[in-house]
Symmetry: C2
Subunit: 407 residues, 2 copies
């Protein structure tokens, strides 16, 4: 057995690793004075890895980054909020390229080293005039302290910005990972309307970085579900610059394990922060499904529970209406024996072998439901399949926020 | 081309066809004076057909009816509301059998001719004492006028009861189909928490009746989606008694086509009534998906749109945020070319070949969204696949109703 990696949480965000600067300004995509343009920049080019939305409708920024990623190195990321630049056709692609070109030009770095991000309303072309003046301006604001404003500038319906920085040791060298994320509504496996930008000073090969990022995203961002929707714009990028001067990390080594653990911790922390900020969410609920034949089955059941409107409203109402959870399990499309189902609300077992335990257990479950964070555990007694994911409740506030987003 | 079947809508419900009586009483499953026990009874035994929930967790009533259905004939249906008798184990099955036995005994008909239904909270055993006294009592109330109270007695969160009766001619004989349904929340393809009981005086073989019912339910009840959940209790039963004295209808004949058209019309009318009564729904939205390679693809896209929380809240907010519909199309798991998507709100095209039409079109779409009933049409330009389904918006009221159902 491996010793757990000691992880140290430190203050800061994307500029916590050596050699990174950031800035966030109001450029004019959104009404003043809301911040709407963020820049993250490294003092030197290095490996970059990316994970993108699985939606088939892709925003210009996603298409462009996927092309840029072929070179596997990068140096700067420019992100606007307030407009998704999705479903905007050839004009949208031309606009995204212009943003990229202007950023490269004003930073004095190659075009191939710049990545872009957009989030906001779909179907409207980018307002280019504020971006043309905003890009040189955001560059003048780059600083170590700029991580805070950068994290604010990528927000849309978020109620607060999300940042994190963590360190671990690889041999004698301390490596740092910093991150910022945007997301609250439309959060679902496959990263719905979610942007996350991670930076690290670790020295790592592009391949090792991509493998670490893919695995970390799978077990973090792809395990949160607020409302089951997904967007054309979602992405996670991780930019490395090697300034920690650790021995180069390659895939599958103990050092890679340490790095991946640190990266996953960073991603999980941002993902849970997004979940807690789920639009109008009042509760963070962990769902654990075990005892299925396969991981796939556990995931299928978990996601059916996590996205059930009736389960989510019952969580909001603190109503231990576990029949809705059982009904969700039953329609998840996984063959099962109903008399093997066990269901727990935190420490309280409410269903044992498919039947209600007692009135007392229901009452105790109702107490558990008053908690701000709780765990629903489902066991099916069929095999070793396991999946864990997170969801939120569904409140009046959710409907209010989402009923009139564009108008 | 076949001439369309002239359908005449008449007053009444399950007792409109010849030879049927019904009643609804307060037995004591729910607090007084709410009605909670319904009975439908035919003066003679006849063919019966059934369609049941696809949830793997089955209520005792569903398991029992599936067994009873092997004989393919029936004479009476007894239904309680206020308790689903699901996840209640062997006790639940014993209770359902006792309800069936008592009904048969007091009606003086064979046990094999009785069918049962339950709807309400999951996981609690049936309160048998009120049912033991209620069953003889509901029998004394049987009458032609009793359809109204029967339709009320099967309600749970419904805001109004749902009944219909229609007639058509087969040769010179008039045949009548009557029906009542229960459902508002948890409505989804595969009949979530939905009960419908249909009666007919048509003379028809059990096989022809089952084929007609299966097809009618597929194109009506299975095309409505309020919140994507499904329950262990859902069923549609159709009981025939042959008293219209038409020549016996067999499958695949012109007379069968007429009967099936009439039955589908009845089912569709009840289904739309359920949809309009969607918990806290303010709008009835028809979704049409066409131009896919197959019906399956069209259905997949339609259901993804119909169950998207973000689409449903935008409908409630009358916000023409069509980006959410596009995003739902993109994550439906159907291969597509985004530049071939056309999207219309009633007569207004907002997206043509994957791109926004104009600001004016968006404004006109916003006018369309104020309508109580509207149609979203998606065209993908790939093939002849077609599916039509119905959904509702998601309102504050939905959350309110569902946040505290058991408590």
């Amino acid at each position: 057995m491996r010793k757990p990696t000691p992880i140290k949480k430190i203050k800061g965000g994307v500029t916590a690793p050596k050699g990174f600067l950031a800035a966030g300004i109001h450029a004019g995509v959104k009404p003043a004075p809301t911040l709407d343009l963020a820049l993250v920049s490294s003092e030197r080019e290095g490996p970059i890895a990316g994970v993108f939305t699985k939606n088939q409708i892709l925003a210009a920024s996603v298409v462009l980054n996927q092309r840029q990623l072929k070179k596997k190195t990068g140096q700067a990321i420019i992100i606007n909020s307030g407009n998704a630049n999705a479903c905007t056709g050839p004009q949208g692609m031309a606009d995204a390229k212009e943003v990229l070109d202007l950023t490269a030009k004003h930073l004095g770095i190659p075009k191939q080293a710049v990545f872009v991000g957009s989030t906001g309303v779909i179907g409207r072309t980018l307002p280019m005039s504020p971006l043309r003046s905003g890009i040189p301006q955001v560059i003048t604001q780059l600083s170590r302290a700029g991580h805070t404003l950068a994290a604010e500038a990528i927000m849309t319906t978020d109620t607060h910005s999300k940042e994190i920085a963590c360190q671990a040791k690889i041999g004698r060298q301390v490596i740092t990972i910093g991150g910022m994320a945007k997301g609250s509504g439309m959060i679902h496996p496959n990263m719905a309307t979610m942007l996350a930008y991670l930076t690290t000073d670790a020295a790592i090969t592009p391949h090792a970085l991509q493998r670490a990022l893919t695995q970390s995203v799978d077990d973090s961002f792809n395990c949160i579900s607020v409302d089951g929707d997904s967007s054309p714009n979602d992405m996670v990028l991780c930019l490395a610059n090697g300034l920690a001067q650790n021995p180069l990390i390659t895939h599958g080594t103990p050092a890679w394990n340490t790095f991946q653990t640190l990266l996953q911790h960073t991603c999980e922390s941002l993902a849970l922060n997004i979940c807690r900020d789920g639009e109008g969410a009042t509760k963070l609920v962990t769902i654990i499904v075990e005892g299925t034949k396969s991981h796939r089955e556990a995931k299928q059941i978990g996601q059916t529970i996590a996205t059930s409107l009736l389960v989510k409203t019952a969580l909001f109402g603190e109503d231990p209406n576990w029949g809705r959870i059982i009904a969700a399990i039953g329609r998840a499309g996984v063959p099962l024996n109903p008399t093997h189902i066990t269901l727990k609300f935190d420490e309280v077992t409410v269903v044992q072998e498919g039947q209600r335990v007692s009135t007392q257990a229901d009452h105790r479950a109702q107490q558990v439901m008053r908690r701000k964070e709780l765990t629903l555990s489902v066991s099916l007694g069929k095999g070793a399949g396991f999946h864990r994911l997170w969801t939120t409740d569904l409140s009046y506030e959710y409907v209010k926020i989402n009923a009139s987003y564009t108008t």
